[in-house]
Subunit: 339 residues, 2 copies
């Protein structure tokens, strides 16, 4: 299986991305196309000594331009048809790659995917899912930013798509929860109230409303919400986890006794960090497009990139898009013409 990696995106530059690709190729039999400035990428590759068995599976595909992190996504993909992200999706479109992984401009990646590959049959709105760690297993939350204004049917479809994706974690009958501000069915804004009715009559394993405090408890496998709410949840969780660790480190730094204590407890701390580290779960899968796309955090480490490549591979292995197309029984919820 061959996967295209946008080798120009991300905050750490091509080195980190290449390192991630090499890790993934070492751990699996994946072939990886590094898409970007050929001269630059080849120069980086030359400085690294790699086993022949790995090197033979790493290819460089030239793309002369790059879409910057701050560029307007829609303008950028129109103007820069030869950018690394556009060329990466061209590879999927042409059948030369199965999936794209990118740590670049996420809006542009999303727009490029939809433009180049198109939506899956019956999918009203492709979206972005994210995987959160919980007290128990991981939970898939969708949408986390692709769709800011949603209609009830979109939330229902996010439930179907994210349920399909949760097969990656060997979840059998994924429990789907609707994120709102009260457990009873009448609680929430109008969007949520109408989505509740759709989810209720669907064939999903819908367990009802969940509240913010339930997100990390692990009693639900899939959480649906609109992309505005989902993105804020994602960012607030990342921000809080970071700030809490920093506050704790500050306090520990204030006394010698506490520092010694920290050193003794360090392995436990590291294990905890790993448990809550988003990089463990790879990137955010783009669901609902004719192909596979993974959007990584701009600050992704090589380790996170490796996991995203493995995630893309697993998504292909479980035939995620066939599952989604099969499960989207549109008539089930009376999806009108207004998709």
């Amino acid at each position: 299986m061959q996967i295209a990696l946008d080798a120009m995106g991300g905050d750490h530059g091509p080195q980190e991305l290449i390192a991630g690709a090499l890790l993934a190729a070492d751990e699996t039999d994946l072939a990886i196309c590094l898409v970007g400035n050929e001269t630059l990428l080849k120069k980086h590759l030359e400085t690294i000594s790699v086993k022949q068995s790995i090197a033979s599976r790493i290819k460089v595909i030239h793309a002369p331009s790059v879409i910057g992190m701050d560029e307007n996504p829609v303008d950028a993909i129109r103007k820069k048809k030869d950018s690394s992200i556009m060329v990466a999706f061209d590879l999927v479109k042409g059948g030369d790659a199965s999936a794209v992984v990118s740590a670049g401009n996420s809006g542009a990646t999303l727009a490029a995917a939809i433009r180049k590959l198109g939506r899956l049959k019956n999918v009203a709105r492709p979206g972005l899912a994210s995987i959160f760690p919980t007290l128990k297993g991981p939970v898939v939350i969708m949408d986390v930013g692709a769709n800011v204004e949603c209609r009830p049917v979109h939330l229902y479809q996010f439930g179907v798509m994210a349920s399909g994706f949760s097969r990656l974690y060997k979840v059998d009958m994924p429990r789907v929860g609707l994120l709102t501000i009260g457990e009873e069915s009448g609680k929430g804004n109008n969007l949520v109230k109408e989505a509740y009715a759709l989810l209720k009559k669907s064939s999903l394993n819908f367990i009802g409303n969940i509240e913010g405090r339930d997100v990390f408890q692990g009693d639900v496998d899939v959480i649906v919400c609109d992309g505005f709410v989902g993105n804020i949840c994602l960012k607030i969780s990342e921000g809080l986890a970071e700030v809490a660790m920093r506050m704790l480190r500050d306090e520990i730094g204030k006394s010698t006794m506490a520092k010694i204590g920290y050193l003794l407890a360090r392995p436990a701390f590291m294990k905890f960090r790993r448990r809550v580290d988003y990089a463990e779960y790879g990137g955010a899968p783009l669901l609902g497009i004719k192909g596979t796309g993974i959007i990584c955090h701009g600050k992704s480490s090589a380790f996170a990139i490796k996991n995203a490549l493995l995630e893309a591979m697993e998504m292909e292995k479980i035939n995620i898009n066939e599952v989604i197309t099969r499960d989207l029984l549109v008539e089930d919820v009376g999806l009108g013409g207004g998709v």
Copy 2:
């Protein structure tokens, strides 16, 4: 100054609430009315030995019924006019108390406050604010659940009200941020885009959009959002903080070395806990009503109740409602008739 405490609300029962009242009376010269079942409350009070100087400032006011945590707020306040929360607001209405503190059914507290006291002049929608700890000072976020569907003018007014409240923290020109999913002015849903324009032309110290990851950084004093988003943010933060501590404790529990380390670092842990403990900040102030109301978490400890009582006292001292009324220059943002 006299404050009415709903002595029947909360998950821990009257004992905890009474303990909080006694702490507040010991620390300040506040007089506190305990509102609830007289026989029950007096029985509890008899079991505690209290200094005469404190006892003389604690009064019991009888209210025969209680609104349960799961009752429908609107129905409940209509049917139970003699409930502790309704009687508590009667005291404010009649001039016998300056404020109400309640750890009971928060929807009912909100509904009772609006019903009994009414809105402040020019306030379209009273709302609930919450205080989050950050890397720097506290940040006030509004609304956190009172107003699920909002219009742009409501968000602007939350900015005015929360800015007034932030005087409690000696903030001079409170920096107001609009919670959304991108820093640029065009980012967000329709509500946020329109609210941006209003905030921009208002006399508030509006610093622009902020994202979820900025919430805990402390670079903003006031965050405005609709009550749906705010409530989810509040609950997800509480949930994550709790789960993270539990995961860390689990990991530490797995090795003796880590346990010893934890014991040595314990004071630092406790200080960290105190820094992120919401109870430190009292309860959620209800802003925009003709009076002062504080809604506490159902599981509030005596310590949290004490802080909520002190918070109510401080709100009265800074004349929060005069500040809000003065600052709500309605014409400033072209508030139409459709409030």
